[in-house]
Structure formats: structure tokens, C-alpha cells
């Protein structure tokens, strides 16, 4: 059978040790350890529902080898919402702006949006569209998702929130 490896990583601020198959994706490793806000829409890097922050960068966790994350830090939408005021605000903005329908794309979308804002992304709708172009949403038509990220970007620009 497949080789197992032990990896130590920080998931949502907590030190954890996972024992995983050497070839397992980070998405499967997280979901098998009950971190199921990381959704699986395709498992081959096409849809973005599995987006997480790996050392501060938005990545598709289904394309990331879990074993390669040994010693690294992972934040998911759920964890960010508890610990990071910017993401918590972005989550609220998604509700306010009506950016959520079925909600299956939402966690990945919010992580992509939060990464953009954390890296100094501006209130620029074209740039926001670009940053979420790898995250598919079949329900909303994206308009209100762009709106929510734009709203929070504006709040940051106006000094009402820190990135």
C-alpha cells in the first residue's frame, strides 16, 4: 500500500500532526481531519472551491501536496473568520451584498478575496474580477461577489479597516 508520512503544520493557528499518504493532496488531508469548509468541486485545480492560504498565499489545496506542507502554515476561511478581522469583515460583506446563493463556492471565494486585500489589493473592480477568475461560481454571476470585495477594499482605503 501507499507510503505514509507524518507532517507537522499549523492549521488555523493550531499546531497539528497529520499522518497522510505521501501522495495525498492538502485538500484531502484537511477534509479528512474535519476541516470541511475547504470544499471539493473538482480536485484537479479547475474550480477554486478548495482555496486556502498557504504561508499567506492563496493556493488551490487540491493541487498542493500535503507532504510538502510540512512545517508550513495553512489558514482556511473558517479559521480566518475567527482570528482575522479583515476576513471576518469580508464574510459579513458577502452576506450584506447578497454574494451568497448555494454557498458552495463561498469559502474559497472569500479566501481568494482576503488574500487580495491582505496583499494591498485596491478597490478596483477589474483587478478583483481578475483575482477571482480562477474561482468558479455557478449561482451568482459574480457581480455581487465582486461588489463585496470592492466594499471591503474601499473600507480599507478609507482607513476604516486595516488590511
Amino acid at each position: 500500500m501507499s507510503e505514509k508520512v507524518k507532517i507537522r503544520l499549523k492549521v488555523n493557528g493550531e499546531d497539528v500532526t497529520y499522518e497522510v499518504d505521501a501522495h495525498m493532496s492538502l485538500m484531502r488531508a484537511l477534509r479528512e481531519h474535519y476541516v470541511w469548509d475547504v470544499k471539493c468541486g473538482c480536485e484537479v485545480g479547475e474550480c477554486g472551491t478548495c482555496t486556502v492560504l498557504l504561508d499567506g498565499q492563496a493556493v488551490k489545496s487540491c493541487l498542493t501536496l500535503a507532504a510538502a506542507c510540512d512545517g508550513h502554515e495553512v489558514w482556511t476561511n473558517k479559521g480566518l473568520g475567527y482570528r482575522d478581522p479583515l476576513t471576518a469583515r469580508l464574510q459579513e460583506a458577502f452576506v450584506e451584498c447578497g454574494s451568497v446563493q448555494c454557498g458552495f463556492c463561498t469559502p474559497g471565494m472569500i479566501v481568494a478575496g482576503a488574500a487580495y486585500l491582505k496583499h494591498g489589493g485596491k478597490a478596483d473592480r477589474a483587478a478583483i474580477k481578475n483575482i477571482i477568475s480562477g474561482n468558479l461560481c455557478r449561482c451568482t454571476g459574480y457581480v455581487k461577489i465582486v461588489d463585496a470585495i470592492y466594499l471591503v477594499a474601499k473600507e480599507i482605503e478609507e482607513g476604516r479597516l486595516t488590511a
Partner: protein
């Protein structure tokens, strides 16, 4: 049903109550369900489009610790995955697992193992010997004598019927006198249209988790638009009493019709769990999901007669549909398609529809937002544009002159479900839209030059709100609800109705809160399973609010009656002298004496005192059936830009009118209209599912990257997406509401195509309008005009 009270939640934009759970990632979807001791399932899917299974050897897979399931393990009960129609109008041709593969990717065997990976490995260890049969992929080919036959016999209701030349269903409908109508016309138009298959691409793939319980029952979590349909099908194929099957209602990651029928994976998962004696989870990979169901393709020929003053005197449509390897109800599909056609315009009552639906060795087709409506709408609304251009009518006036509106008959679900239109936003949409877009002054295509050409187009459409008619027809339609007042004045609402993201559950809570006049946050939506609540046919046919909401309204009214009776006893008043009003100050519903509010009690006090007196809980449950299927109307005014060098179509601007009666939550309604525009844009310009006829496989191999759906980049800028909700009130709807869901897509395709015509003067009869197709058409025209004008 009654008007709303002052300060009502109905019509107010209230943030969706499941929003918090969804944005924080706390919400549990079927694919997230984890049960202790759970095994993981995987499917062996057919590598051939048509093949007999000669032998199966599962020894190696079993040695790996997998539980294996083949057709030998299942009862060969024939069923149709969709159970919305009555049994006598339902064709049955499939079993849980087949002994013959009829399309590439069809599930043939299943395994369950301790890990997902082991399950996949075990599938690969199963040895199958096939006899590969010739396959057929196009309906015209399939109907020829000597073509490969998918079936000899199938069942209609309890009757065995023979299948000839792969023809699954023929449905011909005729009313009035088409010949006389055409004779009266000054001009006759005839055109053909074609729409291919597309894929739902709901973001959560189809999945199920089935748990055998200690008492011999099973609990089921699945991507399902109807919990009761799942229960009843499982009862039938497992031979289990329904009382032992609890299908739990959950939100799931998008529907668009993909789970109206019971998903193919669900009964397989149930069989696996029962064979293993352990819970099993079976989730389709995206590449598999592409092969589970697709949207019906259609080829139409449309003939219309028109007088010189713009009266359409007759219309005749022929339809040819390839529905794939199993019937997920092409019979009602053809009936509905006929109905959408018949209900768009009056045609002086002279209509004919000849529909044929054919088996091919392709993935089975099922409903996808519109059930034939976007397909036939593209044909008819393109036709109206053609007639307007040819005869010099304004496209707005031609529509205004001929549309079916208030007082006219509407076929909500084919010829057997009809009701009279009582509310209609068509005129408002056309007249206001004409002004806002300055439609009458659009430039003609032959005046346009340059590399990027702009055009403006229009189309209108609708969908039914539910499938109820004054008389029962082929389609089952009723819903249930349970409402119970708690001892603190809060309310439990139990409904079998599913919500796919449109906000149906909030609408139902609002209806309950409005009837009982309690603060909205005090109305709780209870978890519901088939063991706890009565039947609802399905959240389909745009019926969630109109039909599900009407059941909540009906039951809440009964609870209100009981409440006032109990309050009367406590307050020494006659019930008819009492009324309920909401007190935001007390954060309670209050029962008071009419015209004497000083004498009042909160609903909480009433319920508590009724409990202290041992009078019982104030609660009620019942079912309710709507007797109308009012159309919800939409109109799309679309501006496009066509790049003459690349053939790329973009949409700089869109104006959408939606008529959903009194909107429960206007922002959520607008959200559905915008989302649908996005899907319609994909349908019109990108999406297609060609088959590799050498292998029977999809050309994209089930990969999303090779199946282009719109990303955020393709949507018009937010300031240029305008949505207007019509000012209408549906007298038969709960607080004036009707639906919107499927109507939101109906006219997108034709509006874009009509705008493209206005931009470049080329009429497209076939979707999608990919850059390649547009460019080829531009080149062809250039070649023709070069040939016509000698240089």
C-alpha cells in the same frame, strides 16, 4: 391570498438567515457528512458507449477488503429516476445497476472500502469482459432502420411497450386550425434552430451518504431537490417500507435541475451500505458528474403565419430531441416544450406541435433551469426578431400585439396543466425597457462599420410558478408544512421544501412570520427529514415560494385560528373579536382585542398558559395544493459588442425585467436574475459537449477547463447590470408572490443572439455562438459578397 401588513418583512431586503453559516464555512453540505465507521464508495463506469457485460470477476477487489456490488446483487426493478409525473405518464427503463452499458461513463459496478483511495484501487481490480456493441449518437441516425437498438421494450406505467427505431416518445399536440390560420396570413416564415447539450456544473458534485441504523432503518443525506422522491424510490428498489427510510433535508451546492430526479449514485450507495452493513459515502468526481446528467438538446423547425398588420395567425413547431440512454422523462419534457411555445403568443389559437424524443448512446438528459423553455424560447424569440426585421415591425410592438397576458390561458406544464393568467408584467417590461434603452432608435446593422460593432437586442420569456392547475393533470403538485407555537412565543416551521440558494427558506419563514405576526428571528426552520414531515413533490418548476409558500401560509392560518381560539378562552373574548399584531417593542407577536389594543396578551404568554392549563400545544400540519400555475415573466434587453477580427462577443450592458409578483426579498430575486444571466451567457456563447464518436467519450473528458463556463471576467461591469422588478401582485400567490427561478434564464439566449444580429447583421440559428462560429459566419458573408460584387 391576503395583502401584507404594515411594516411587513415581505418585500423587505433581509440578509439571508443561512448567510452566516455559509460565509463562515460552518454549513454542512451532503459531501461534508461524516459518519463514524463510514466506508467510501467508488464506481466502475463503462469505458464503452454500448456493450454487453459477459462476465465480472470481483475476487481481487474483495481480497483488498472491498465490498463489491454488481447487477447480480440488486433486484432488477425497473424505474425512472424522476417521479414528478404520475406513474401512468412515466416511462421506466433502468435498474440500479445494468447488465448492459448504454453510454460511456454509465455506472456498472460499485465498491465500498475503508478509504477513498482503496475504493478507487478496488474498482481497478474488478475484471469485466465486455462484448462491445455498435453505438449511435445522433437522433436522426438512431431512428434509421438497422441502427443499433438500445432497448427492445420498456414500461409506461405498468404496461410493457416495445421500442421501435429507438424512438422513446412521440408527442403531437394540435389546437385550433393551423391550416386555416396559415391561409389567413400574408407571409409565412419557416426557420430551423438547434441547441446542443450543456452541463449543469452545479459546484457540488452529486453524492450520497447512507447509514444503516440499529433498528433496521436507513438515514440518507444526498444532493436532492426532493427528499420524498428519494425516499420513495429507495423504498421501491430496496423493497423497504417507507417508514424505515429517513432522507434528511440539507442545503447543497447548486441544483439547476440536476437533482430533480433521484441521482444515480443514491440507490447504489444505499445498496452498498446495506450489503456492507456500514455507512457508505459515495461522491462523484467532477469527471464522473459530467456523465450523470446533461441538459436536453433540441432541434426545432418553426413555421409562423403573419398578417401585414402584425397578427400572428398560426404556428407549427416540430421538435427532435436526443435524450440519451435512459428516460428522465422526455415525455413531460416534450409536453412542457409545447406548452412554453403555446403560451408565448396567441397565434389566434392555431397551434401544432410535433415532438419526437430519441434514445442515443449518450448521457441521459434531465431538466436544467427551464425544462425545454430556454430551448424553445430561443427559437420563438429569434423568429419574432426575424419577422420584425423582414416585415419592418418594431420588435416591441409585434410582441405587444401578440403576447398572452391577463385573462389568457397559460400552459404551466404541458397540455394537461393550464390556468388563466391573473398578473402580468409583460407590458411594463416592454414599454419601460423600450424607453430606457431608446430601443426604437437602434441603428440598423448595415449602417455599422469598424472592428468592434455594438448591437442591442431584446427577448422575453417566462416560466410557470409550480405545476398546479384547476384540474389535476399528469404532474403531481402539492406541498406540506408543520407549524407549532412554542411556549415563549417563538415558532417552529417544518417544511420538506429544499432551498438551492435562491432564498426559498427565508421566503417561507417570512410567510409564517407575517401570518402569525411574530418577529422573523423567532421563526425557526426545523431540521426536516422524510420521517418528520409530509410530502412535497420537489423544488422544481419554480414552485418553492408559490407552492411551498402556499402550504406554509395555509398551515400558519390554521395555527392562527387555534391561537385565537385559545386566546379567546384566556381573555374571555370571542376569537373573532381578536387579532394578531407584531410588537417590535416586546419582540413578540401579540393577540389583542380589535380596536381595543389595551387588552392584549403576547403569543408567548398564551402558549405558556395553555401549557399550564394542560390544553395542549398550538400546532398544525397539513398539505396544500395550488390550483394555478401563474407565469412569472422576464424580459432581457442586451447590448453586445462583437469583435469582427476575433468573433468574440462581450456584453457591456444588460437591462433585465423580472415579474415575480410581490417579491419576498427583492435583492435575492435580483441575485437570481443576475446569476441566470451569467449562465445564459455561457449557454449562448461558450458551452457545448461534443462527443468523440470513435470512443463515445465526451471530447472534454469531463474536465471543466475544457468545458468553458463564464468566470468573473465575462460578466458586464456591475453598474451596467440593471434589474427592475415589475410592479405586479399575483392574487393566488402567498402575499402576492409567484416564482422567478427558471424564468430568469428563459429569454437570455435569444436576447443575446438578437443583439448580435443587430450588431453585425448575421442571424444565428444554432448555439453556441463561439468565436469560431461567429468568425466563420463573418468570413462566409465576406466570401458571398465578394462573389456577388465582381471587383
Amino acid at each position: 391570498m391576503t395583502q401584507v401588513s404594515e411594516g411587513s418583512y415581505i418585500g423587505q431586503n433581509v440578509p439571508r438567515s443561512d448567510g452566516h453559516a455559509k460565509v463562515t464555512g460552518a454549513m454542512v453540505y451532503p459531501s461534508d457528512v461524516i459518519v463514524p465507521g463510514m466506508m467510501y464508495g467508488a464506481l466502475l463506469r463503462s469505458p464503452y458507449p454500448h456493450a454487453e457485460i459477459l462476465s465480472v470477476d470481483t475476487t481481487e477487489a474483495e481480497k483488498m477488503g472491498a465490498v463489491c456490488l454488481t447487477y447480480k446483487d440488486i433486484e432488477p426493478i425497473k424505474y425512472n429516476e424522476r417521479s414528478v409525473s404520475i406513474p401512468a405518464a412515466t416511462y421506466r427503463d433502468r435498474t440500479v445497476l445494468p447488465d448492459k452499458a448504454r453510454h460511456f461513463g454509465e455506472p456498472l459496478m460499485a465498491v465500498a472500502a475503508d478509504t477513498q483511495e482503496l475504493a478507487y484501487r478496488a474498482v481497478r481490480a474488478i475484471k469485466v469482459e465486455y462484448k462491445v456493441l455498435p453505438a449511435v449518437f445522433e437522433p436522426e441516425e438512431a431512428m434509421k432502420d438497422g441502427a443499433p437498438q438500445l432497448y427492445d421494450k420498456i414500461y409506461l406505467g405498468d404496461e410493457e411497450v416495445a421500442v421501435h427505431n429507438n424512438i422513446g416518445v412521440i408527442r403531437n399536440i394540435s389546437e385550433g386550425d393551423c391550416e386555416a390560420g396559415f391561409a389567413k396570413a400574408d407571409r409565412i416564415f419557416q426557420e430551423s434552430f438547434e441547441l446542443g447539450r450543456i452541463y449543469h456544473n452545479q459546484m457540488e458534485t452529486k453524492c450520497a451518504v447512507v447509514k444503516p441504523e440499529p433498528d433496521g432503518s436507513i438515514t440518507v443525506w444526498a444532493t436532492a431537490q426532493s427528499i420524498h422522491a428519494n425516499r420513495q424510490l429507495l423504498g421501491r428498489v430496496l423493497g423497504m417500507p417507507l417508514s424505515r427510510i429517513n432522507v434528511i433535508k440539507l442545503p447543497f451546492g447548486g441544483a439547476f435541475g440536476s437533482s430533480i430526479q433521484v441521482n444515480t449514485v443514491t440507490p447504489i450507495c444505499a445498496y452498498l451500505a446495506l450489503k456492507a452493513g456500514r455507512p457508505v459515502k459515495l461522491v462523484s468526481a467532477r469527471e464522473e458528474d459530467f456523465y450523470s446528467h446533461q441538459k436536453y438538446p433540441a432541434k426545432f423547425t418553426v413555421k409562423m403565419g403573419v398578417t401585414n398588420d402584425g397578427l400572428i395567425t398560426a404556428a407549427h413547431v416540430t421538435a427532435l430531441v436526443d435524450f440519451g440512454a435512459h428516460q428522465v422523462q422526455p415525455l413531460p419534457f416534450l409536453g412542457c416544450t409545447a406548452g412554453w411555445f403555446a403560451s408565448l403568443y396567441k397565434y389566434e389559437g392555431n397551434i401544432r406541435f410535433d415532438g419526437t424524443a430519441v434514445y442515443t448512446n449518450k448521457t441521459p438528459c434531465c431538466a436544467m433551469q427551464g425544462y425545454g423553455n430556454p430551448q424553445i424560447n430561443f427559437a420563438i424569440e429569434s423568429m419574432i426578431d426575424i419577422i420584425s426585421n423582414e416585415m419592418g415591425f418594431s420588435p416591441v410592438d409585434l410582441r405587444l400585439k401578440n403576447y398572452r397576458g391577463v385573462g389568457d390561458e397559460f400552459w404551466g406544464q404541458g397540455p394537461t396543466i393550464r390556468s388563466i393568467i391573473k398578473s402580468c408584467g409583460v407590458e411594463q417590461s416592454l414599454v419601460e425597457g423600450r424607453q430606457m434603452t431608446d430601443f426604437d432608435h437602434r441603428e440598423r446593422p448595415d449602417t455599422k462599420t469598424g472592428d468592434v460593432r455594438r448591437g442591442l437586442g431584446l427577448a422575453r420569456g417566462f416560466h410557470c410558478s409550480g405545476t398546479g392547475g384547476p384540474k389535476e393533470g399528469e404532474v403531481i403538485d402539492y406541498s406540506s408544512a408543520l407549524v407549532k407555537i412554542n411556549e415563549d412565543g417563538s415558532v417552529d416551521l417544518l417544511t420538506p421544501v429544499t432551498d438551492h440558494g435562491g432564498g426559498t427558506w427565508d421566503a417561507l419563514r417570512k410567510i409564517c412570520a407575517e401570518v402569525l405576526q411574530v418577529p422573523l428571528d423567532l421563526v425557526g426552520l426545523s431540521p426536516a427529514g422524510t420521517m418528520q414531515i409530509g410530502y412535497d413533490v420537489c423544488t422544481h418548476a419554480t414552485r418553492g415560494v408559490y407552492c411551498g409558500g402556499a402550504a406554509v401560509y395555509h398551515v400558519a392560518m390554521k395555527v392562527k385560528e387555534k391561537l385565537l381560539e385559545v386566546a379567546g378562552r384566556l381573555m374571555a373574548e370571542h376569537a373573532y373579536n381578536l387579532e394578531v399584531v407584531r410588537s417590535d417593542g416586546l419582540h413578540q407577536g401579540v393577540v389583542q382585542v380589535k380596536d381595543f389594543p389595551a387588552k392584549s396578551m403576547t403569543i408567548g404568554d398564551i402558549a405558556k398558559q395553555a401549557q399550564n392549563m394542560s390544553w395542549g400545544t398550538i400546532a398544525y400540519t397539513d398539505s396544500y395544493r395550488q390550483r394555478n400555475c401563474p407565469p412569472c415573466f422576464t424580459t432581457h434587453f442586451v447590448e453586445v459588442e462583437v469583435d469582427m477580427r476575433t468573433g468574440v462577443i462581450t456584453v457591456p450592458k444588460v437591462l433585465i425585467f423580472g415579474d415575480c409578483g410581490n417579491p419576498m426579498n427583492p435583492d435575492l430575486v435580483k441575485g437570481q436574475l443576475v446569476g441566470s444571466f451569467n449562465r445564459g451567457f455561457g449557454y449562448t456563447v461558450f458551452e457545448q459537449l461534443p462527443t468523440n464518436e470513435a470512443t463515445g467519450e465526451l471530447a472534454n473528458k469531463g474536465l471543466l477547463v475544457d468545458y468553458k463556463t463564464p468566470s468573473a471576467m465575462e460578466m458586464p461591469p456591475i453598474k451596467d447590470v440593471e434589474v427592475i422588478l415589475c410592479d405586479t401582485y399575483e392574487p393566488t400567490g402567498p402575499f402576492g408572490a409567484k416564482g422567478i427561478g427558471e424564468a430568469a434564464l428563459a429569454s437570455v439566449q435569444a436576447a443575446i443572439s438578437n443583439a448580435v444580429y443587430n450588431a453585425i447583421g448575421i442571424r444565428f440559428h444554432k448555439l453556441p455562438l463561439t468565436p469560431e462560429a461567429v468568425l466563420a459566419a463573418i468570413r462566409e458573408r465576406e466570401a458571398q459578397s465578394a462573389g456577388a460584387t465582381p471587383s
